[in-house]
């Protein structure tokens, strides 16, 4: 395992540099639309500022205490937070307007940085200059891409290349050199991850864009119907969020970042002994994720009707919160578009934004 880690680390350095000195594999990805290299340079490295007030080392200045240098969500202050700071390396994000399994758009990340996430440790950075926010968004994407490629290569090296048993002889080890087979695996992995990010940027989320709320959005009749769907079997929001969205239901469940090193490996999140090796590597102590108390609460992703429509349709990626299929007519397998809008009205009535 050690061997796999150090070989993958070498490859990663060749491709992406280090989080402190970022690079982009231009030989694999000659046209870079996704990130701006100058931004990466500004966001990385140690904190300093220039005569005109421009700050350098933005990520260390603003984010590293929670998200950690490599974006693993294990920064110094992370243990106090619930939810834990995001581990960017999994490439999964919650607050976005793309499909559940898709990457977020730049704009989604930008919104999170500017608005912040109330009720979590994630601050609002609305007081930073716009170009700082842009540079940070570039850097988050960089860390997410880098981290995901690294983790895929690690998994691949164990499952495909036979790392993990006896140390491999030199000619069988993973190296990043143009004329070997490994190079193809590596190039393929990088391209696949970057491709996902790029395609998400193009989805202008057809649905949310073209949708606008019906005339009777937020009217009391719509709210009443929404209340009915909320408590209905089909949507079953009540099963997690409690009657009237008042919370109080203790679902013992975990988010996907936690499941990755627990239930997905067949380890119970309460099994301290089995978890110890992961904890030694810095993994957080598993803590259950609770469905939100919706009445009177502030929504982390905002109250915008189109956004709530999207939320009900797609759920929240990385969490147990499911999406509801949208069907032609409400038939028990999903909700119709109108019914979802009614739910939107109801949700908006819960936190007083009628």
């Amino acid at each position: 395992m050690r061997q796999a880690e150090s070989d993958v680390a070498d490859v990663m350095r060749a491709l992406f540099g280090t989080p402190s000195e970022p690079a982009w594999p231009l030989e694999i990805l000659p046209d870079i639309d996704l990130v701006n290299l100058e931004s990466l340079r500004r966001a990385a490295g140690s904190v300093s500022s220039e005569k005109d007030g421009t700050h350098l080392g933005l990520f260390r200045e603003h984010c590293v205490v929670c998200h950690g240098i490599s974006g693993d969500g294990q920064g110094p202050a992370s243990q106090f937070q619930l939810p834990y700071p995001r581990d960017f390396r999994a490439g999964v994000f919650k607050w976005k307007l793309t499909e559940r399994s898709e990457k977020p758009r730049r704009e989604d990340l930008r919104n999170v940085l500017i608005r912040g996430l109330p009720g979590t440790g994630m601050p609002s950075f609305s007081l930073l200059p716009g170009e700082d926010i842009d540079a940070l968004v570039d850097y988050v994407i960089y860390l997410a891409v880098r981290g995901e490629v690294e983790r895929r290569l690690l998994m691949g090296s164990v499952s495909v290349m036979g790392y993990g048993g006896e140390p491999l002889p030199a000619e069988e080890r993973l190296v990043y050199k143009g004329d070997r087979d490994d190079a193809e695996i590596i190039v393929d992995t990088v391209q696949r991850v970057v491709q996902q990010w790029e395609s998400a940027q193009d989805t202008v989320n057809a649905q949310a864009k073209t949708l606008s709320g019906p005339e009777d959005l937020d009217t009391s009749s719509s709210v009443e119907r929404g209340r009915k769907w909320f408590h209905s079997k089909t949507a079953n929001c009540v099963g997690c969020h409690g009657a009237e969205g008042d919370g109080g239901i203790e679902t013992l469940d975990y988010d996907d970042w936690t499941k990755e090193y627990t239930t997905k490996l067949g380890i119970s999140p309460e099994d301290q002994v089995a978890l110890q090796p992961f904890r030694d590597l810095g993994a957080h102590k598993p803590r259950p994720i609770l469905p939100r108390k919706l009445r009177g609460g502030t929504l982390r992703g905002g109250n915008d009707p189109e956004r709530l429509f999207h939320l009900i349709n797609h759920g929240i990626a990385g969490t147990p919160m499911p999406g509801v299929a949208i069907v032609e007519e409400g038939d028990g397998r999903g909700l119709s578009e109108d019914q979802v809008w009614d739910l939107v009205s109801f949700l908006r009535s819960l936190n007083g934004s009628e």
Binding site: S46, V47, S48, S49, E50, K51, D52, G53, H55, R60, E61, H62, V64, V65, C66, I69, Q74, G75, P76, A77, S78, Q79, F80, Q81, L82, P83, G116, L117, P118, G119, T120, G121, M122, P123, S124, F125, S126, L127, L128, G282, R287, L290, K293, G297, T298
Partner: protein
């Protein structure tokens, strides 16, 4: 209880200039700590990348308009340097004044120590900038309060009160060894708390989460201990019969209480309400479940900087208290070791006659 002005009436200690200058230094260093705290809060420590000059200018000659009208970072970082330099000048004057008038050699030595310390502190600050090093920033942050404490020490030991004589007022003071012990422990814990606070504040980006959690836990524990000891001191010194000791104790209790509140505020504006306290607990605090951190907010940075500055203030008060307790016990010991009790009582009578 007797009033302190009565206690010091008619006493003419030497080296008045050194004393007044040291009081001036105390009054300048506390604002300096505020500005220094702001520099860290705004991460402006590297706003001026060169040293000892400011963008090539001599420190004192940097153009006023560029400084005042330039970016906020540069304003506070250059202001911090300027104020620091003026404190250095005052320290030089203190050395000159005490070398000329101060009879006690250890006090003269202390004043030289004061100057050396301010020089070191300036060099540390400079090296921090030139080497762009966060650990040096932390050391700089720990030496600052120590220097403040030393300024307070010099002004206490050159004060009128220090020279008060063994009279009836002093002999009626009841100071046990436990008072001395308490004052000593409070002083030691105040500085420990500053070191721990600096470790929290200047956390390295690659520090392990478990270590940081431990440091924070220690910072909170020592804070609570300090508060309890301040309450003990409040009770213990109330009946000691000396306002010059009770007043600092009272100020200590007030500032430690304030500091605990500011500490919680500092945590919340930096890291939010700690979710690990449990969802139901957080929901029971009004507004906590919806709380949103605003990075670099103005009032937020005032709370954080106030926490840093009040930390130094607590150290200063505990320095004053400890030194006064030591001095008073010293005077009391003189009386009991050299005289038997009846003689001491005689001394009281004659001393009070002499005064009335």
């Amino acid at each position: 209880m007797s009033s302190s002005s009565y206690l010091t009436e008619g006493i003419h200690p030497p080296a008045r200039t050194a004393h007044r200058l040291s009081v001036l230094a105390v009054c300048m260093v506390w604002p300096l700590i505020w500005v220094g705290g702001l520099v860290t809060t705004y991460d402006a420590g590297m706003a001026v990348p060169d040293w000892p000059g400011t963008y090539g200018y001599n420190l004192f000659l940097y153009p006023l308009d560029t400084w005042v009208l330039g970016p906020f970072d540069l304003f506070i970082e250059h202001g911090h340097r300027l104020l620091g330099a003026f404190v250095g000048l005052v320290a030089i004057l203190i050395v000159i004044a005490s070398l000329r008038h101060e009879p006690r050699s250890w006090v003269r030595a202390l004043s030289v120590g004061l100057l050396l310390m301010v020089i070191c502190q300036g060099l540390l600050g400079g090296m921090r900038v030139v080497l762009s090093d966060r650990t040096l920033a932390m050391v700089h942050g720990c030496v600052g309060p120590a220097f403040f404490s030393l300024c307070v020490a010099v002004s206490v030991i050159t004060s009128r009160l220090w020279w008060r004589s063994l009279d009836g007022n002093i002999l009626s003071i009841k100071l046990a060894k436990s008072h001395l012990f308490l004052a000593g422990v409070i002083f030691a814990l105040s500085y420990t708390q500053i070191l721990l606070g600096a470790k929290v504040r200047h956390v390295l980006p690659d520090a392990l989460a478990a270590h940081f959690t431990l440091t924070v836990a220690m910072h909170i524990t020592v804070g609570m201990l300090l508060w309890l000891l301040s309450v003990c001191a409040f009770v213990g010194f109330r009946r000691c019969g000396d306002l010059t000791l009770f007043r600092p104790v009272f100020a200590l209790l007030l500032s430690v209480t304030l500091q605990m509140t500011l500490g919680i505020g500092t945590w919340v504006v930096n890291y939010g309400w700690p979710g690990i306290l449990g969802t139901s607990f957080i929901r029971s605090i009004p507004g906590a479940a919806e709380y949103l951190i605003h990075a670099k907010g103005f009032w937020d940075s005032v709370i954080v900087t106030a926490h840093v500055a009040v930390g130094s203030l607590i150290l200063a008060i505990s320095t004053m208290l400890a030194l006064r307790v030591i001095r008073t016990r010293h005077l009391l010991n003189q009386s009991t070791t050299t005289k038997s009790l009846p003689e001491a009582e005689n001394a009281i009578v004659s001393a009070s006659k002499a005064f009335s």
